[in-house]
């Protein structure tokens, strides 16, 4: 039977197994920036994002996945950020998202620290 094209698709179901993921980096990040735990996942940071406006970069997705121990491709994604700081101004939980962006890059990519 041919599938009807409704003009949108549904993401494939996907489960994150927290027991299997290595949470070391995630723990380190949360230890340095505990306020990230206050994130309610509202997506405001993504909605205003300068880089997200131009690419598929989704800041909420990146920092949420990292907290769950999913680091693959996260550093490359994070590098699209321009550090403009708009996300910080709109975050309803007052999270220092610019600091989060820099911390993620430092922990995941930059091996010098």
């Amino acid at each position: 039977m041919a599938t009807i094209n409704f003009g949108y698709t549904i993401s494939k179901p996907r489960a994150i197994d927290m027991d299997r993921n290595n949470l070391r980096k995630s723990d380190e990040i949360l230890r340095e920036m505990p306020e990230l735990q206050a994130c309610i996942g509202c997506g405001s940071c993504t909605a205003v994002c300068t880089a997200g406006n131009l690419t598929s970069f989704n800041f909420r997705r990146v920092h949420t996945l990292i907290r769950r121990g999913e680091y693959q491709g996260a550093y490359e994604e994070m590098n699209k950020c321009m550090l403009c700081g708009k996300c910080r101004l709109v975050c309803p939980r007052g999270i220092n998202t610019r600091g989060v962006a820099m911390l993620i890059k430092r922990k995941l990519g930059d091996n010098r620290s």
């Binding site: 306020e35 131009l54 700081g85 708009k86 101004l89 709109v90 999270i95 220092n96 820099m102 930059d110």
Partner: protein, 593 residues
Amino acid sequence: MTFFAPFCLPFIIGAAVMFTVLLVKWGVWLYRLPRTDKMTILRGIPTRRTPQAVGEVVGEALLHRSIFRVDPLLGYMHMSLAFGWFLLIAVGWIETVAYLGLRYVPLQGHVFFKYFATGLEHKPVFDFVMDLLLLFVLSGVALAWFKRLRSRALGLRRTTKHVLGDRVALSALWFIFPARLVAESATCGLYGGGSFLTGSLGGWFSAHLSVPGLMNLETAAWWFYSSCLGIFFVAMPFSRYMHIFTEIPLVFLRRYGVRSGEKASSMDQFQTQACSRCGICIDPCQLQSVLHIDTVQSVYFLRDRRYGMLRPETADNCLMCGRCAERCPVHIDLNTLRLNSRDALRNLPDERRYEYLRGLDRSSGSGKVGYFAGCMTLLTPRTLAAMERIFEAAGDAVWWADREGGVCCGRPLKLSGETDAARKMMRYNTDLFRKHGITTLVTSCPICLKVFREDYDLEGIEVLHHSEYILRLIRAGRLLPKHDATRFTYHDPCELGRGSGIYDEPRAVIEALGELVEPSETRENAPCCGSSVANTAIDDGAQLQIARAVAAELEATGAEVIVTACPLCKKAIGRGAQQPVCDLSEVVAQRIG
């Protein structure tokens, strides 16, 4: 005369160590300067700049004029120590010549002249002058002691906390002049001479001590004096007192046009080591006055950097508001040093970054005037709408660089130390401006303005802040806003005021609309809103605390409307204020019919 006594040894060794270390340091720093800087220096030497530098050295390094501006008593303290000591050396040298004629006298002969000159006939004029100068210096020492106890009396709320090397040098320095007084007095007590200070004290000594006792005191006092000098000289190049000699080459280099940049260079050494750790930069810092953070201010930052113990937490925790640099008596380029420290800690050249910029163009409209909203203005849509009205009323055709989303100006990246990545933004935007052939570029964000003016190569394109642009329109009669009885107050954005030197234009625009009342701290002394993109260390609560303090000052003026000229300031102060905060463009747009 042999001009040698065993007690001279500590002094001689100390002086030798000091001059050797100094010469090595200067030599290495100069040698390591980039070639272009060396050429700049060579070209500068035969020009007017050399005598100007000499004048500045006298005015600042000796007389400390800038510190007088902070507080007269503090200025006097620094001047009496520096200038007084200098005069003691200079007049002491003249004294030696007057006694002995022009002949070679070793260094210690000049310094300990009173000890060696006992056999000569006295010249009371010199005795008097030298006593007077010693008193002058001693008064400075007394003030320094007093400052330790009661810093507020000298106009400083907080004084610097010092490292070990400083304490050694400081203790030695405090004892040098009292020791000199006792030593010279003891000699005068034995052999006569001296004036109102050393003469009188010497008389008192000889009245109360036996001759052998006084002789012992004399030897001990000269040894002590010489040792204090020796210890001070050895500790000096490794302590804050390195500033005494570093400030001199710094003044020359600066006059010749050598500057620190976004990448660390040898020039930074001259700047960091010219810091006297006077602590004047502590009080203006809002991180200290509002948040009570007292480990990150410029004085500590420079200290940590100099001794190689700079931590990212310190380098990052600064608003780069420039309030400290505004007051620094040595005029150290504090923001640039902070910036290149961040670059050293964080910059990662990665060629593959921002590939997505290639071919991107979201701009709209066309015209010779370009408008760059910048990220922050896109978050304050009222400013954007107001600009639209203003352009329309003025009849300027506008090319909108980023109304539908654009690329950041690059300054936030640069301020975070990612200077190479920032260059990519800069190149992208420059190409975009050129492609659309604009001749004027207007922006309503001072952060963008600063980077356009300082880091972009926009020859042929005039870059204007919207306050400048609006003022031009008003002056040319192309914009006719209504004047009424509204009372406005104005917050100077750091990047616009201290950062770009634009203080008068926004004020002139406001005066065309109504009455302007100034807050207590304004212009060069204006506070920062607290939300500066340069600081990624403080949290939301801390930002809000600063914003509240700033808003309270603005509200205390009793003005009906708080105006600023930066989208970030507007958002930040708006959070802390009871009344609305408007951008300059909004209040203008409201009044153009």
